[in-house]
């Protein structure tokens, strides 16, 4: 069981790092799409900042009471690196200079973030499958141990 626990701990570290960056990517997509809309409809960046609560919660799901886990540690987690440095997509200063971003770059950044978010979600989902399998095994043994 100790080996299973060690494996789970390692997977949880990676899962946490993936989930963190996935959320950042989702947030950036939502803000950049709001900026896209702002340029089309007019409005100030100041208004966009005031509108962040709506922008950052529009797509958000929420798990039900029975599907919630004990909260994981809330840190950015381990560092993740891709050969092409795409982890910078959720760390660069694009948002800070939002109105200065040229239209075509705005669109291409949104696309790259969408692709990155899909990739992060896919990796995260696979980690969940591994973690849930290991947890299930540990849980079965605990239940058996209590019964025996």
């Amino acid at each position: 069981v100790d080996e299973l626990r060690a494996m789970k701990a390692e997977c949880n570290d990676v899962e946490n790092a993936l989930s963190y960056r996935r959320r950042l990517a989702q947030a950036r997509i939502e803000i950049l799409e709001a900026e896209h809309e702002r340029r089309a409809l007019g409005g100030t960046v100041e208004d966009l900042v005031k509108d962040l609560p709506r922008i950052l919660s529009a797509e958000s799901g929420r798990s039900s009471i029975t599907d919630t886990r004990v909260p994981p540690p809330d840190s950015p987690g381990v560092e993740l690196h891709w050969p092409d440095g795409r982890e910078q997509l959720v760390a660069d200063t694009t948002l800070a200079h939002l109105p200065l971003l040229p239209d075509d770059e705005l669109e291409s950044t949104i696309e790259r973030l969408h692709a990155f978010e899909r990739e992060l979600s896919e990796l995260r989902h696979r980690m969940h499958e591994v973690i849930d399998a290991v947890e299930g095994e540990i849980a079965e043994r605990q239940v058996a141990g209590t019964a025996g």
Binding site: V49, S57, R69, D74, T93, L95, A96, A139
Partner: protein
């Protein structure tokens, strides 16, 4: 790049303009989505996600104003805990649990405390129901209306022994982390205190609590492993939390 971000900070800390602050808010606002998502898990639908985000943004602005770039620690870590604290504080002050549910929870908790002291063991459902003047079915229904999952519930669990911040709580004494229930829970000392209390509980409650708090399963997954319905696992978990709280506060 790190240099560009350092420049954003310099602009604000030197000039203090709202424009410079706005740039920092935009840059770090994704942190609020991350934290709000975590705090929202398990909360009832009547609590709007956009409200959580707006409380969180206030926490972020507070963190930006207070941060000292010279200090050498990472802004993200500092901001995450301030954002979380801001959201939890606001939820506490609007008392996010309906009053009637709060009142029932208090009554049940008092019943557990009283019976534990008298019987020197965990009371059975029948005994708790009798103490409250309910049938066992009514008690089960009531337990089903109260649930303790998620970050805010963890915060309430760790404040066992204190009615709404009136005294030292388990969380305060151990972690000294003030309003960060997750950090408090993560501390070695707190996990030991909780584990000791959990180990002294009856088998089924102990299993549910161990699988939830130490193995990271959801209540639905625990239900699967134990072969009981989701609503039953919910009730067992709620009951177990009452028992745990009464032991932690003695």
């Amino acid at each position: 790049s790190a240099a560009e971000i350092a420049e954003l900070w310099r602009d604000y800390k030197d000039g203090g303009t709202s424009h410079a602050r706005e740039r920092l808010i935009l840059h770090y606002s994704p942190l609020v989505k991350f934290v709000a998502g975590r705090v929202a898990a398990g909360l009832p639908q009547n609590i709007e996600q956009s409200d959580l985000v707006s409380y969180g943004i206030f926490g972020l602005i507070d963190a930006i104003d207070k941060f000292d770039p010279g200090r050498g620690y990472k802004f993200e870590t500092y901001a995450i805990s301030r954002i979380k604290g801001a959201i939890i504080d606001e939820l506490r002050s609007i008392d996010w649990v309906p009053r009637s549910v709060r009142a029932k929870a208090r009554a049940i908790e008092r019943a557990y405390s009283k019976l534990e002291n008298e019987l020197r063991r965990s009371p059975e459902d029948k005994e708790v129901a009798t103490e409250l003047g309910l049938t066992e079915d009514e008690l089960a229904t009531t337990l089903g209306q109260i649930s303790f999952v998620g970050v805010v519930a963890l915060d309430e669990l760790l404040s066992a022994g204190s009615e709404r911040g009136s005294g030292a709580t388990v969380g305060d004494t151990i972690a000294g982390s003030g309003h960060d229930p997750v950090a408090a829970f993560e501390s070695e000392e707190m996990r030991q205190v909780l584990a000791d209390a959990i180990n002294r509980m009856p088998d089924r409650e102990r299993l549910v609590l161990t699988l939830y708090y130490y193995e990271g399963l959801t209540l639905a997954e625990i239900g699967n492993v134990l072969g009981v319905t989701e609503s039953r696992v919910c009730q067992i978990h709620t009951k177990a939390i009452f028992q745990l709280r009464s032991r932690l506060s003695e």
